[in-house]
Symmetry: C2
Subunit: 299 residues, 2 copies
């Protein structure tokens, strides 16, 4: 083989084997969002790590909308360019998942799917994430705690909100609709949401942002009004740079790399016929307390 400089043609091989040893990864967020947030890069690291070790290639597709996500995913699979796909945004009602199940395409979801469907997914315990953050704020004496959350159609949004509500209820605190805002998982969204909260007649003393990017935006808004340090903040994801902000941001650390690695493992197992049926895995998260929330609200 070396003598003739021969290399087997992977395409011909795939054609015969009816398998490409390639996995598709669909990043389904407006690209600007997806990549300013270190969540996706870190997820990709985990995925690429496992796929590489297992001899699979990775095909990357970015989709700006759920519609594009759907068409791109189905195209990849129906044209047999990939053996299976990894999805990165669990939605509350997702037609794509119905299609994938109907056409029997292998896939694994990062983020859970509405429970009743027999779908493989890996998720972190987002209800616990929300509860952890809010209980921490409550333990520091806060009673007026707002929520800056993501788009309502994502499961992660629903779950973290549930944790927020659970924690409020357990502490006997009333839910206030005016304390719940959509920050679109972006810095700008967090900034605008925080400005809105500041202007409320009775503004919150603490805010739980369901993503670090939004917490950064919120901090910017607070700083503009000279309120940094006066309102407690907790984010989610433990973006490395947020520890260096002033004040350093409290956050919930999510095992993003492992999320990706596990999803890739599950898909590969399925593709190689090792998997028995759909499996669900939940990975734990961890509260990281820093100065942005580590002070006691005076009674």
């Amino acid at each position: 083989m070396k003598e003739l400089n021969y290399h087997p043609n992977a395409i011909a091989r795939s054609l015969h084997a009816k398998a490409t040893r390639t996995v598709g990864l669909i990043i389904a967020r407006p690209a600007e969002q997806a990549f300013t947030n270190p969540f996706f890069p870190e997820l990709m690291r985990g995925i690429a790590h496992v796929l590489h070790a297992q001899g699979y290639d990775l095909m990357l597709t970015m989709a700006d909308s759920p519609q594009e996500e759907r068409s791109a995913s189905l195209k990849l699979l129906r044209q047999r360019r990939v053996d299976g796909i990894l999805l990165t945004s669990g939605r509350v009602k997702d037609k794509l998942i119905d299609d994938l199940l109907a056409e029997e395409h292998p896939f694994v979801l990062v983020g859970r799917s509405p429970d009743y469907r027999p779908v493989s997914w890996v998720n972190n315990d987002n209800v616990a994430v929300g509860a952890m953050a809010v209980e921490h704020l409550i333990s520091r004496g806060h009673r007026r705690i707002a929520l800056i959350n993501g788009p309502a159609d994502l499961m992660v949004t629903v779950d973290r909100r549930q944790g927020y509500l659970d924690a409020l209820q357990r502490a006997g605190l009333a839910y206030r609709a005016e304390y719940e805002l959509d920050g679109h998982f972006t810095k700008e969204g967090g900034y605008r949401a925080m400005l809105h909260l500041i202007n409320l007649p009775e503004s919150p003393t603490a805010v739980f942002c369901t993503d670090d990017a939004m917490a950064v935006g919120a901090l910017t808004a607070l700083r503009e009004r000279g309120l940094d340090g006066a309102v407690a903040l907790v984010g989610v994801n433990d973006d490395p740079l947020t520890a260096l902000l002033d004040p350093p941001l409290s956050t919930i650390r999510i095992p993003v790399f492992d999320l990706g690695a596990t999803a890739a493992y599950m898909l590969v197992d399925h593709l190689s016929g090792k998997a028995d049926g759909p499996r669900q895995v939940i990975l734990p998260s961890q509260l990281v307390v820093r100065a942005s929330s580590n002070w006691v609200f005076p009674v």
Copy 2:
């Protein structure tokens, strides 16, 4: 076609066409580095944007070392999994490029290659980047200016260093070997390099870090010693979060998205036979002055 739910098999089509309409992207840095630095995600955005518009798919490969980069790239191309590749790290002496040229594989380099080779690349004007940063510091009265740079085998390191040297020379300032350190393009590397500089008998009053990540590390070191604000810092890349640090970091903004988009265009043009021969493109950068360097050093 709809009636029978028929979808053409891309593999069979590729086999016949002897082309896959797929492009390989090789990210050749230790993965932890690659993805904590927003450079690569942003580059991928640009690439994915163009490829999508041109009907090409993207195959992503991460390589932890130059050796892996080489073997992974050649494997992808020789096995005909992709029609061409995009490389992301121009090295001073790169055996891979020799191989690619010898085997006549289409590729485009992000970052320039040693000039004499007939290679297509897109780059920003890294000599200008270095000169711009240092001239800015000189204009603020600094005469003891250090350089925290990346790995010596990368072209970007060589070029930014050249800009640094040029600016010193034009200002009649002597080069001091003890002011030049390798920060490995990481936060930790920048941190260690800064500590080293602080401990010099005659320590610098300003530091040019050739990447924001290293500047963030340097700032951490300064802060630990209570010297933040006392040493001017300039980074490179305009990572969005660095504007929020205290003090906000001056930086050189690089058109990373355009770098990726242009590289993708050039490769696609080449693959579709539109390109005449190797082309080189240089994109301009821009100094962004913030508080970390915007004060005058007292004479």
